[in-house]
């Protein structure tokens, strides 16, 4: 973060002094000691590792100078020292000032309240020149090749000459297919975006300005939960990058090497950057142009199971080498040897080592030191581990080897680096017998799980009854089958009964009699006539509930009409019944029987179809 401030401000530490104030280290900086009237400049006061709250930044501006903006920003940096994470916190108070008249000024000192006590920085001398009199050509900072406001504009940018410039070569990671914004934008880039757990990835925040050079007055880092971050010492110069036919000034604002700590989709949040320059924001008021990058997602997976050696620890990814030395090689029983191990390489250098344990050999916690740095997207360096190893066995004791398995993401396979520790000659301790032995503590866990020689039978996978298709149906099948059968039996019986009852209906019987009459009419006319007569009487009974057989023939016509039978049908019935009677007793040729049966059929149908009512 500090590097960001230095780079983006083009800080001239002309007034950099450390003040020992109750163990508080203060540093005062100014962006430029020589400015023009109306040109904004910046004064910063940084306090590192404050013992308490930091608040109330104050700066008294002399007449002729105006404070246009102020801020107090906490900065956090994480360092790894001796395998432990060290978090350093610093606060930077900043003031943007603008001069309204030329002259030599002594500004400040800037001050802060630290843990309730006022702490002051140094007085800052600044020379203010009349407008347009400041020497041109920039201040010679690596990126500041366009100069500050008032300096010559870059060819091709607004206000600059039209000549096509000879562009400096920019690194490939600066190139983009299209510009998000023609004026200015910020991009967070990660490479690669899919990694295995513990594999390093490079993340750059790059600012692109399309209107010439700019400074950064404020920026925020992206959130990166789930990662360990190493600040990367990378090129922070500005480059001219052609994007979509336009030229942009691209500057690396921040750069880290990140190591994921867990698997899944990890998010790197958005970063912001405030552009300040002649064509960005309002330099005279010290108000910049703020832009934010879009968050990005990193996919983190476990390294492959295939080929994974025993003892591989998730997160050990990179390329490492172990060397070890043991001293002395001859000791007395109960004494210790020193084992110095150096682990060096590139990647997520492990902070601990797997040790070759054995009975009678006791490894104490190691003293560690390290030198790791992130350069050009890679963390490289070494860690040393100094162990004190106590040996309580007599004879030639083989200390074994230290072996570290790691996953090499470039080769995409596991590797093992080893360092054999060799043997140590252990002499018997002549005073051992006289030394008191401490009483053994009661240990409820001793002998709890004795060794087993037999492997025994494996556990066959269980196929649960409830998972079998048809289990739940089978539960219901028996009772439902019995209930279903019972219901089916009852239904069948009811249908049979209904059929029987239906057959007893007068109209059904009339129909059957009619069929009999038709069958008999050719050979037995009298029988046909009797059936036809019965058919007609049953049809009358079915339709009108009149038992016509018990009614005098002379009364039948009236009786039928009283029951709303059509008069012509009534007379037709009476006539037919008379003819039937004649036929039954006197006999007649089959043609007459035919006529009678047809007439009976017509009457029965009239009743059956309901065409009998007047």
């Amino acid at each position: 973060m500090r590097r960001l401030v230095e780079a983006s401000l083009g800080v001239v530490c002309l007034v950099a002094a450390a003040e020992a104030h109750a163990q508080v280290k203060l540093e005062t900086r100014v962006s430029s000691q020589r400015v023009e009237v109306g040109e904004p400049f910046r004064i910063e006061l940084e306090v590192k590792d404050p013992p308490g709250d930091v608040q109330n930044p104050s700066l008294a501006a002399p007449p002729g100078l105006t404070v246009r903006g102020r801020g107090l920003m906490p900065q956090t940096s994480v360092m790894f020292f001796n395998g432990r994470m060290q978090k350093n916190v610093s606060y930077i108070a900043s003031w943007t000032l603008v001069a309204s008249k030329p002259g030599s000024y002594r500004i400040g000192p800037p001050a802060l309240e630290i843990d309730g006590k006022l702490s002051r920085g140094n007085v800052v001398p600044v020379e203010v020149l009349p407008q347009g009199t400041k020497p041109r050509g920039g201040l010679g900072f690596p990126f500041d090749f366009f100069g500050m406001p008032g300096a010559p504009a870059f060819p091709g940018f607004p206000g600059g000459p039209d000549l096509e410039p000879e562009l400096p070569q920019y690194p490939p990671e600066y190139s983009l297919d299209r510009a998000k914004d023609a004026l200015a934008f910020v991009v967070t880039k990660a490479k690669p975006t899919e990694v295995v757990l513990g594999e390093g990835l490079r993340v750059d925040v790059i600012a692109y300005g399309g209107r010439g050079d700019y400074q950064g007055i404020q920026s925020t880092e992206p959130s990166r939960d789930g990662f360990i971050a190493y600040d990367s010492k990378d090129d922070s110069r500005g480059y001219i990058v052609p994007i979509g036919g336009n030229h942009f000034v691209a500057k690396r604002v921040n750069s880290w090497v990140l190591f994921p700590l867990r698997t899944g989709s990890l998010k790197i949040g958005s970063a912001s950057f405030e552009f300040l320059g002649r064509n960005y924001g309002d330099p005279r008021k010290g108000v910049g142009l703020k832009r934010e990058s879009e968050p990005i997602t990193i996919i983190v997976r476990d390294p492959p199971l295939e080929g994974r050696p025993a003892g591989y620890r998730l997160g050990d990814v990179g390329r490492f080498r172990i060397t070890a030395s043991v001293e002395p090689r001859t000791i007395t029983e109960g004494a210790a040897v020193s084992v110095a191990v150096k682990l060096e390489g590139t990647g997520n250098v492990p902070s601990s080592l797997p040790l070759p344990g054995q009975n009678g050999v006791e490894w104490a916690e190691p003293a560690k030191s390290e030198h790791l740095e992130a350069i050009e997207g890679k963390v490289q360096g070494y860690r040393t581990f100094n162990y004190v190893v106590k040996v309580d066995r007599v004879g030639s004791v083989d200390l074994g080897e230290i072996a570290l398995s790691y996953y090499d993401p470039e080769k995409r396979r596991y590797e093992v680096t080893r360092a054999a520790l060799g043997k140590v000659q252990v002499q018997p301790d002549p005073n051992k017998a006289t030394r008191p032995t401490p009483p053994e503590e009661a240990d409820p866990l001793r002998g709890l799980l004795p060794a087993r020689a037999e492997l025994g039978e494996g556990a066959e996978p269980v196929r649960h009854l409830a998972d079998r298709s048809g289990f739940w149906l089978a539960l219901l099948f028996g009772p439902l089958a019995v209930l279903g059968l019972g219901a089916a039996t009852r239904l069948g019986r009811r249908l049979l009964e209904q059929r029987r009852q239906r057959r007893e209906q007068p109209m059904e019987r009339a129909s059957r009699e009619l069929d009999r009459a038709k069958a008999a009419r050719a050979k037995e006319p009298s029988r046909a006539a009797a059936s036809a007569e019965r058919a007609v009487l049953l049809a009358i009974e079915s339709a009108t509930a009149l038992k016509a057989r018990g009614v005098l023939r002379s009364e039948l016509g009236r009786e039928l009409e009283r029951r709303e039978v059509k008069p012509e049908l009534s007379s037709q019935i009476v006539e037919l019944l008379d003819r039937c009677e004649d036929l039954r007793f006197s006999g007649a040729p089959p043609e007459v029987a035919n006529q009678v049966v047809d007439a009976a059929s017509e009457i029965v149908h009239a009743f059956a179809r309901g065409r009998w009512k007047s």
């Binding site: 199971l305 040790l355 054995q358 060794a451 492997l455 556990a459 009854l465 409830a466 028996g478």
Partner: protein
């Protein structure tokens, strides 16, 4: 043809070697424990587990390796929890072994003692009531009970339908009632056990303690009866995973726990 012969010959030699590998690993691990190389034993057995090998003997050996390392000077936080996880796995693969049950009890008691010495909460939520009832017998026993109930109900209905004798009617009615009770109980418990099995997996806390969070990532509040940390060795049920967190059920408490602090227990 020649290729096929070469392939057949390679398989003939390779397959027995593959089959022997787990036994050899167990032998190596057991020997490593005996000579005090607990890290090596743990590494070998964990690698075996990573390769998908599941066997009660492997779980037992893993439990033993972790237990012995926990007793040694090279003990690491969570070793006893890992031993508990391996023994829980053993119990599921080969249930009904008194020695293992005793060992589990002893380790959990030791964990409780250590927790009390540190001033930790003595509360262990234990098994939720529903799971405890369903877990009285195995899922298969509940399923068989349901089948018996169904058969009794069928018999009772048949008796009632087919025989008119008074004694048959009484026997039928009795069978129907008992069949209904057994069938409903068995079917209900089978369904519950199946649901528990399909929607959650047992896991054991393998860190000194596992803090509980709500879905937004805030630590759950601690109350008198509801601690917001799960002690090492406690059995929980995992309902799902969201990023780096497991959604767990611990007694009557639901919350999110860092996935690295739990070890899922393998089942048959």
């Amino acid at each position: 043809m020649k290729r096929a012969l070469v392939l057949a010959a390679s398989l003939t030699f390779a397959l027995p070697a593959l089959a022997d590998a787990p036994e050899k690993t167990l032998e190596i691990a057991t020997a490593a424990v005996e000579r005090g190389a607990f890290d090596q034993a743990v590494n070998e057995l964990e690698a075996l587990s990573d390769r998908g090998f599941s066997h009660p003997a492997a779980s037992y050996a893993r439990a033993r390796a972790y237990l012995e390392r926990a007793r040694s000077r090279g003990a690491r936080p969570g070793d006893l929890g890992r031993a508990v996880a391996a023994l829980e796995e053993y119990r599921r693969l080969r249930p009904g072994e008194a020695q293992v049950d005793r060992a589990l009890e002893t380790i959990r008691a030791e964990l409780g003692r250590r927790r009390a010495r540190r001033g930790g909460s003595p509360i262990d939520q234990g098994t939720p009531l529903g799971r405890a009832v369903v877990g009285l017998v195995s899922e298969e026993v509940w399923a068989i009970l349901a089948v018996v109930g169904s058969a009794l109900l069928t018999l009772g209905l048949l008796l009632r339908r087919t025989l008119r004798a008074r004694s048959a009617e009484i026997a039928g009615a009795t069978a129907i009632v008992s069949g209904l009770v057994l069938g409903l109980l068995g079917a209900g418990m089978t369904r519950a056990a199946q649901r528990y099995r399909l929607t959650s997996k047992p896991a054991v806390v393998v860190a000194t303690e596992a803090r509980l969070y709500d879905p937004e990532g805030r630590a759950l509040p601690q109350t008198a009866n509801n601690p917001n940390v799960i002690p090492e060795g406690a059995l929980v049920y995992v309902h799902g995973r969201r990023d780096a967190y497991f959604d767990v059920e611990w007694g009557s408490i639901r919350g999110q726990v860092d996935a690295t602090q739990l070890r899922l227990v393998g089942e048959r």
